[in-house]
Symmetry: C2
């Protein structure tokens, strides 16, 4: 195994910060300390890498944002808020839409590693990018598990999933489907699925999750959704894992002469300002997008300042009432 | 008036490129030429500015995109395509959401001028930014008039406006309103208004344009739209200058018990993939977003290579049929 900066610090009996300073020739250092650190590096055959060097290097005041695509209303609003808030803190943002493109995500990460940006906020969905293994990178994830070291900001996916499913059951639906992303992708959004499946089982109902890859075109999605109705003509409720999917299912239900909400109840997830303005009728679980954005920025600033952060921040969700999810005239 | 690079070139009897080379110490130059240029600079008391220097300076491979906000579906899709296409050409993008923020737009422009980005693609709506007056900047505008020198890419706004208005008239509407941005902002989108007003007058109808600032919140917009219905309860047709406004008007019409399209016809503008997927019923004029994006990039590349470009590129629009704009069962 290659020696790490920590190993040098240990052998030289100094802090990691001191080793960084020696590497980057920053701050006051006695010649004795410099000699000690350099001797330790030599003994261990330590090769300073970019990651280590970057710890004390000059700031670019650029933050990279990697999300699937700003063409999606949720990521569009999230990125707009992130950019505005970061701008007010003196940063500009580089944006990468990494949908379907692992090479691109890796490329942006390497940009961080080669010191062209100060930090990254990542909500992309690609997998198996090994550069994330470096420790202590100034990275924050939104709704994504990257590794043990990178903090995650997310909405309360389990509670939201439970609330959506419980609502459908309370409204009298028994055949209730759920759409969600591929199960092999490790995202906190998978907890919506877990909550759905748990809640269904608690009520003696059979959960059935339809897997829909996030990274496909609207046409491909439409085909999958048509198939749902072909295979489950008796469907009474759908909990879709995002509002775009929920609305697409709503449109297909209309074409197929289902009355919503009388024959079919639909509940979405995300609740962007755009969707609530354009489709106030869509019942959905609202993520606090501004809170998520601000929490991500605060956490990134802590990482940049080498301060401790929690491993995970969970932001509360809220039910947006709307006609598609309420069959009865109930007051909740 | 301060002397320009051109004045130096004229006096020294060399090309502007040669003056730039002398300023930036680039390329082969004879001592005679250098002396001639420096003498001319001295005589005119010429102060080389960043803009002049940048003409030959090193590339950053960063392109700045300045748009009102990626939270809007049109700009979200446009920016996603621009970023993906620029990435494939070796560029990364810095994005600025400049809504309501002239200082921010100016800041991004200064970033260009101080050589932190290679070029800008601008679709922002702020006014009176005097830095744009510099000539030959590597800037391309989308749907915005900035100055005589900066090329504009736009959809065929006049034809689209005419098509939308003509459709409403053909469907039998006589009281037809139009919503558009403030008239004092010089944008090609104003041609939608001109086309609407011309077409109404051609048919002996009274045009009435309701001014809606683009840079306001959904709540503020909703108030303006409610007022439209208060003041024009007999409205039979609305041509909204964008699909978000069209859908907001549609929602209010529903709340007020107008039947769309029987009592009230609605036609929008933009036709993003998102809106056509979520609201296939909305009749709208579709902008060719991909074509606009590609044309903007090609034009910017020409500017970067100091090649000539047209002053204006107009991309064709298309009518998206949908239930909100068609009263009769017609085949068009």
């Amino acid at each position: 195994m290659r020696p790490k900066l920590e190993d040098v610090a240990k052998l030289a009996n100094v802090s990691k910060t001191t080793v960084s300073r020696v590497l980057n020739k920053r701050g006051y250092l006695s010649q004795e300390t410099i000699d000690k650190v350099e001797a330790a590096m030599k003994e261990l055959n330590y090769q300073p890498n970019t990651v280590a060097r970057q710890l004390y290097n000059k700031k670019t005041n650029l933050i990279g944002l990697i999300f699937p695509t700003v063409a999606n209303p949720f990521f569009g609003e999230l990125v707009a808020i992130l950019e505005n808030e970061l701008y007010q803190r003196g940063y500009k943002v580089i944006i990468g839409n990494s949908m379907n493109n692992r090479r691109k995500e890796t490329d942006y990460l390497n940009q961080l590693l080669s010191e062209q940006v100060d930090g990254l906020i990542v909500g992309a969905h690609n997998q198996g990018i090994e550069e994330y293994r470096y420790e202590h990178l100034p990275i924050v994830a939104i709704d994504r598990v990257m590794n043990e070291d990178i903090p995650i900001i997310e909405s309360d996916n389990y509670f939201g999933g439970k609330q959506a499913t419980q609502l459908l059951i309370d409204q009298g639906a028994k055949v209730i489907l759920h759409t969600n992303g591929p199960a092999d992708l490790d995202t906190p959004a998978m907890r919506r699925r877990k909550a759905y499946e748990d809640t269904m089982q608690e009520h003696g109902l059979v959960p059935e999750t339809v897997v829909v890859d996030f990274n496909i075109t609207y046409e491909e999605k439409q085909q999958i959704f048509q198939k749902i109705f072909d295979e489950h003509p008796n469907v009474e409720g759908i909990f879709a894992s995002n509002d775009v999917d929920a609305m697409m299912l709503y449109q297909i239900a209309q074409q197929r002469q289902y009355r919503v909400p009388e024959d079919l109840l639909i509940v979405g997830y995300d609740g962007t300002t755009l969707m609530r303005t354009l489709f106030p009728d869509l019942t959905t679980i609202v993520q606090p997008i501004r809170e998520i954005a601000l929490q991500a920025i605060q956490t990134l600033e802590k990482r940049l300042a080498k301060r401790e952060t929690a491993k995970e921040y969970i932001c509360p969700v809220q039910l947006h009432h709307g006609k598609t999810g309420f069959k009865k005239q109930t007051t909740i």
